[in-house]
Amino acid sequence: MTSEGRIYVRLGCFLLAILMLSPFPFWIDSSRVFVQASSFVVIGTILAGGTIWVGSILGLAFAAIALLRKRWFCRYVCPVGLLLDAVSGVRSPAGTWWKRSPPIGEYIVLLTAAGAILGYPLFLWMDPLAFLNNAFSVYRATGVLAVLASLYGIVLLILLQITSGDLWCARICPLGATQDLLGKAGSFCRNFRKSGQVEPGGRTARGKAVWAGRRMFVAVAAGLGLSLAARKIGAARSDHAPLRPPGAIEEHEFTGLCMRCGNCMRACPSGIIHPDAGQSGVLGFLSPVVRFENDYCRNDCHACTTVCPSGALQRLNLEQKNSYVIGTASVDIFLCLWGISECQACVNACPYEAIKIHWDEEAYESFPAVDPAKCNGCGACESVCPSGELKAVKVYTTGSVPPGAAG
């Protein structure tokens, strides 16, 4: 195809991407499928979770093309690529100091793939389509942090493009590198079939190949090691983990499989899912956490569980979502207004009748108390609690209810 023809294809793909990510999508699943178009994401998630959705087919198809045609996705489809090219077009290409640097992206892919086998795809969050997708969450962002959290990826890429030209696309982008690795594998197989030889040509070339093989081996080993470490750190924190959206997998895998694409935050009609800064440690940076200061997880909604492209949030139907335990509420009777204004806001708000006024014969007093067996941590109680800045009723990660709050 002529280069002029190619530009029309690219523009078409770009427009399609915008349509898919717009606040008014023409298709309910579009933002999930958009991210799943990334072969990097799809391969990473399949290795990590072993789940294949209809949407994954797109990513797998592009992976198959990459076996035959070098970086076909980059050249024809990638909307991020077009965006970055446009940035370069406006501002003439900058430094090329990186031309002799190693293919960082390939190591990223290998590390991620190796980690994925242990359930912790280390750098899945570096996917460019996830970056772009995340940027479109900005219209739902509340607060400076949320705005930064949605835009950081795409802004970094643009800055990189301005300062260092094609560095991202050529050397770092894990989606590009996935295609490179697939392309190499493809040509290796083709050559192998043609010549029947494992090694192609001369000493130097062979040395290079061996060298590359070693580096790959080291990368894979490092990936396995790092992901084991990350899982361990995550497991150690799991009791103090922040509240995750419904459907979240185990904390020690969640921070790895979640690619910070922003889909869950965007999908939540209550606006209770926020990017995390600190609660879940370095590994959980910008991962979604649930906060109930303004609203709660409605019992007629399971939107967030249906939009996750990686499966960090498992797909749940409404019934499954309502029985998924986000956390457990607990009342601090010392902050509770029941005593001073007969407030029963939490009792009336609970959709599951999990909070009731409880009579304590010993104390000769009554106070609201939570039945943990009925509570799924939806936060209805916390969101209506009028006790002021410190809420008398709060949802805690199950198993970490503070002793002072046991009411």
Binding site: F334, G339, I340, A345, N348, L390, G404
Partner: protein, 492 residues
């Protein structure tokens, strides 16, 4: 819905004794009032209750005859007396304290909550609205602006919630008012005078005059001695249904300890509080303050208060400690809680003064002249309103009031006229929190504005019955409803 033991076959002597005897065998009394020595009593309780005596028969002066006599000048009685008098009945109101208003004034329950439903539509109006309008004229009420009722705007909700948790009980702003108790006392007496209600203060209506199952009037005690008012209709607005034990009416008394209404309260006001200083401290040291509240509660004090919000009362806060109890019409319990309340009031104030910034120069300016009561006897009426009715989406044919419901699923509660009519008694209505209901429903709908609504309906019905000479059970419901509507009551 189980009837409690006390409700069956209770007699007047037993009622008197009930308060004294606890945990002993109930005493059987003959229908003629012959006293039978108390059996199987421990030495200790024998000291508390030394059997019974027989009072001498006596002549009692009839100080007045009327169409309608209302016993109790609290919210229920105010509604009943005003509505009856305004509907043309010659009305007498008997109040035991030196003021009108009951809980809303003497009890310092100076909050009228939830007059709007969850959508912000006003459901309670009538005399309650008239009262607030008169308070407004004196700048003696505070409530969210009308245009904000029903708003779910987070900033507004937060603003009003900080002012008072009653202004935004769920996630929306509602019509709830903080009111001035002293001004209200004056307004109520003005309203009585204007309506031509003959009011007796300092008069404790103790006993209905019964002829078989016909109520004929009421006996009351005062400095002037024991007197009687004869009337065609007797309305029990005593709150606890104090007249019921002397009639053939059945009533229930059990209230689950977990319910709000099972608690007494001892309310008081602290003045000269630097609330700005307090707010600043609270903002900067929320956790430290919470720790202090933990401490004061361990000492036996009360954590937290509401701000008055009324004009020129920027330094006044309201405290509403709760007290669990065995019974809210047991004089021993009432005395115990009164003593305990005062003691803990001092503990609380001492602690605040010493430990909480803003309270350094504060002082206790007022404590309730009537102990806060929330639940007592509940009459068994022609219709018993139950939890099931809270879910009822269609109004009763004899709906006389609509109350905003408890949650989004049950936004409206319809009240039938029949829940004011005691079974087995004629010429009597119960217009107060003793209306015919189960404990849970009573807990939800026995507040000040609810009682005014019930009173207004009862008073109107009584006047209609007198005027048309038709039994209370057979009055024209359509006429009652249209009369209520004319009075500004919101009906379906």
């Amino acid at each position: 819905m189980a009837l409690s033991n006390t409700s069956d076959g209770i007699t007047r002597r037993e009622f008197f004794k009930n308060t004294a005897i606890k945990g002993t065998t109930a005493v059987a009394l003959s229908a003629g009032g012959m006293a039978i020595p108390v059996s199987a009593q421990s030495a200790k309780s024998a000291k508390a209750s030394a059997g019974t005596i027989r009072e001498a028969a006596r002549q009692t002066k009839v100080c007045r005859t009327a169409d309608v006599v209302v016993v109790g000048g609290g919210p229920g009685g105010i509604g009943a007396a005003l509505a009856a008098a305004r509907s043309g009945a010659d009305t007498v109101l008997i109040e035991r304290y030196e003021h009108l208003g009951g809980m809303s004034t003497g009890g310092l329950v100076t909050i009228i909550p939830a007059m709007t439903d969850i959508n912000g539509k006003q459901q309670i109006a009538g005399i309650t609205q008239e009262w607030i309008k008169r308070l407004d004229a004196r700048e003696a009420a505070d409530y969210p602006k009308k245009e904000h009722w029903g708003s779910r705007d987070k900033k507004l909700v937060e603003y009003y919630r900080n002012r008072s948790p009653f202004y935004a009980t769920s996630n929306s702003v509602g019509y709830s008012a903080h009111i001035d108790a002293e001004v209200s006392k004056c307004l109520f007496q003005d309203m009585m005078t204007e309506a031509g209600v003959k009011t007796y203060l300092h008069s404790w209506g103790t006993e209905p005059i019964m002829e078989g199952n016909q109520a004929k009037g009421v006996i009351f005690e005062s400095k002037s001695g024991r007197q009687a008012v004869l009337a065609k209709i007797v309305i029990d607005s005593t709150g606890d249904g104090d007249l019921l034990p002397y009639t053939g009416a059945r009533f229930e008394t059990h209230i689950d300890k977990a319910l709000r209404s099972s608690n007494l309260s001892f309310s008081y006001w602290i003045d000269n509080v630097d609330l700005k200083k307090y707010e600043q401290y609270k903002k900067a040291n929320a956790k430290a303050l919470a720790e202090k509240m933990r401490e004061v509660r361990k000492l036996g004090g009360t954590a937290g208060f509401l701000t008055s919000n009324l004009k020129n009362q920027e330094n006044v806060v309201w405290c509403f400690p709760r007290y669990a109890n065995k019974s809210q019409y047991d004089v021993e319990e009432l005395t115990r809680v009164e003593f305990l309340g005062r003691k803990e009031m001092m503990i609380t104030h001492d602690f605040y003064k010493k430990n909480v910034p803003g309270f350094e120069k504060s002082f206790i300016v007022l404590s309730n002249s009537q102990l806060g009561t929330r639940g007592g006897r509940r009459v068994v009426g022609e219709y018993v309103v139950t939890e099931k009715d809270m879910k009822n989406k269609t109004p009763f044919k004899d709906t006389i009031a609509i109350f905003p419901g408890m949650d989004e699923k049950n936004p409206l509660m319809y009240m039938p006229y029949r829940c004011l009519i005691p079974r087995n008694v004629n010429n009597m209505l119960v217009a107060c929190r003793a209306f015919s209901s189960d404990a849970v429903t009573n807990d939800a709908f026995n507040l000040i504005h609810h009682c005014i609504c019930l009173g207004q309906a009862a008073g109107t019905a009584a006047a209609q019955s007198v005027k048309s000479r038709v039994d209370l059970r057979k009055i024209d419901i359509g006429a009652l409803q249209s009369s209520l509507k004319k009075q500004g009551v919101i009906l379906p």
